[in-house]
Homo-oligomer: 173 residues x 2
DNA sequence: TTGATTGCAAAGCATTTGCATGCTA
DNA sequence: TAGCATGCAAATGCTTTGCAATCAA
C-alpha cells in the first residue's frame, strides 16, 4: 500500500481548486510549500517554513513562501495566529475544528483547546448586537502547570516554531 | 468650582507613583501625553496620539509618545490591543473593567462588551490545565448591524482612531 | 504565446535604539 | 551635578512590492 502518494489528497484538491478558480497556476514551489506545511503539525512563521523548504529546495525564496502562505489562508487551508511576540504564525485550518489558544509566557508552550460553551456565548453576544460573525480569536496568557513549579527567570517567549498541544475540551466533562 | 484642575487625579497619582518607584522622572512631555491620552476615550495608536500631542506642543517627538505609552501600560493605565490591521492600539485600562472587542470589518467600528459568563468559562478552562492566567484577549470580527444593510464594496478597516462603543452586557439579561 | 510566477533587491511600515543635548531631582 | 529624558536619525524586523527573467497552460 503506497501511503505516501495518498497523503493530503483532499487538501491538495482544495488548493488546486482555489488556484484554478482564481486563474492562477500550479507550480513546483507552491506544491512543495504546501506539502511541507501540511507535514508540519506546528505553529510556523513564514520564516520557519522558509527554512524547512530550503532544506528540500534551496532555490525557493522568502517571498514565495510569504505569498504561498497567503494563498493557503485564502484557500482555507491555513489560519494566521499571533501569540504576542509580534510574529504571524500559521496553523492548519482545514478539517481542524476551530480552537483557541492558551499561551505560556514562561516557556512559550501553546495549548489548543475547544470549548463549545464559549463559542455559544460568543454567538449569543454577536446576535445581541446584530453582528454577523465571520471569525474570532481568543487567547489566554499565563503560566502553564510545569512552569509554575520550576521558578525560572526566563520570561520571554522563545523563538522558533511553537510546540503545539492539541486538546479538545469542554468545561462540563 | 474649578473642575479642570481636578480631572484624572487618581490616574496621575498612579503614574507618578509608578515613575518614582522605578527611579524615573516626571517631565512636561509625559504629563502632556498622559493628559491627552486620558481625555481621549478612543482606541489610539501611538501615531494618533502623537498628532494630538503635536497640536499642543509641536516639539514632542514620536519616540517620546511611544516610550510614554509603554510606561502607561506598565503603570496599568493603558492596555495594548490589536484589531488585525497590524497596528498597536491603546485604550484606557484603569478603572475600566476588562472587556472584549467586536470589530466590524466593513466600517471599522469597535464594540466593547463584557461577559461574565465567558470570563467564567475561560477561568474554568484554565483551571482544567493547571494554567495560572495573567490576561487574555477575545476579539470577534464580522459585519455590524448597520453595515449589513448598506452593501458597500469598502472592506478595509479605515485608518485613524477607532471609534469606541462601550457596552456592558451579559448574555443572560 | 501569453500572462502568471519567481527571486532578488529595494521599499514600506511600525517600532526601537544610539547618541549628543537638555533637563529633573 | 548626576544621570534620566528627549528628539533626531539611523537601525531593526517583518512584510510587501517592482521588475526582469522564467515557466505553466
Amino acid at each position: 500500500m503506497v501511503k505516501k502518494k495518498e497523503e493530503f489528497v483532499e487538501e491538495k484538491e482544495i488548493f488546486l481548486e482555489h488556484i484554478q478558480k482564481a486563474g492562477l497556476r500550479k507550480t513546483a514551489q507552491r506544491d512543495l510549500i504546501l506539502e511541507i506545511f501540511l507535514r508540519t503539525e506546528d505553529h510556523l512563521t513564514s520564516e520557519d517554513l522558509y527554512w524547512l523548504v530550503q532544506k528540500q529546495d534551496p532555490s525557493v525564496g522568502h517571498t514565495t513562501v510569504y505569498r504561498t502562505l497567503k494563498l493557503l489562508t485564502e484557500a482555507g487551508l491555513a489560519r494566521e495566529v499571533r501569540f504576542g511576540d509580534n510574529k504571524t504564525y500559521y496553523e492548519h485550518h482545514f478539517k481542524h475544528e476551530h480552537h483557541d489558544h492558551m499561551i505560556c509566557t514562561e516557556c512559550g508552550k501553546v495549548i489548543e483547546f475547544v470549548s463549545a460553551e464559549i463559542e455559544d456565548l460568543q454567538d449569543q453576544m454577536a446576535d445581541k448586537f446584530g453582528f454577523r460573525l465571520s471569525h474570532h480569536s481568543l487567547r489566554m496568557w499565563g503560566a502553564c502547570a510545569e512552569c509554575q513549579q520550576t521558578s525560572s527567570d526566563v520570561h520571554a517567549v522563545p523563538s522558533g516554531a511553537q510546540p503545539r498541544v492539541r486538546v479538545r475540551s469542554s468545561v462540563g466533562n
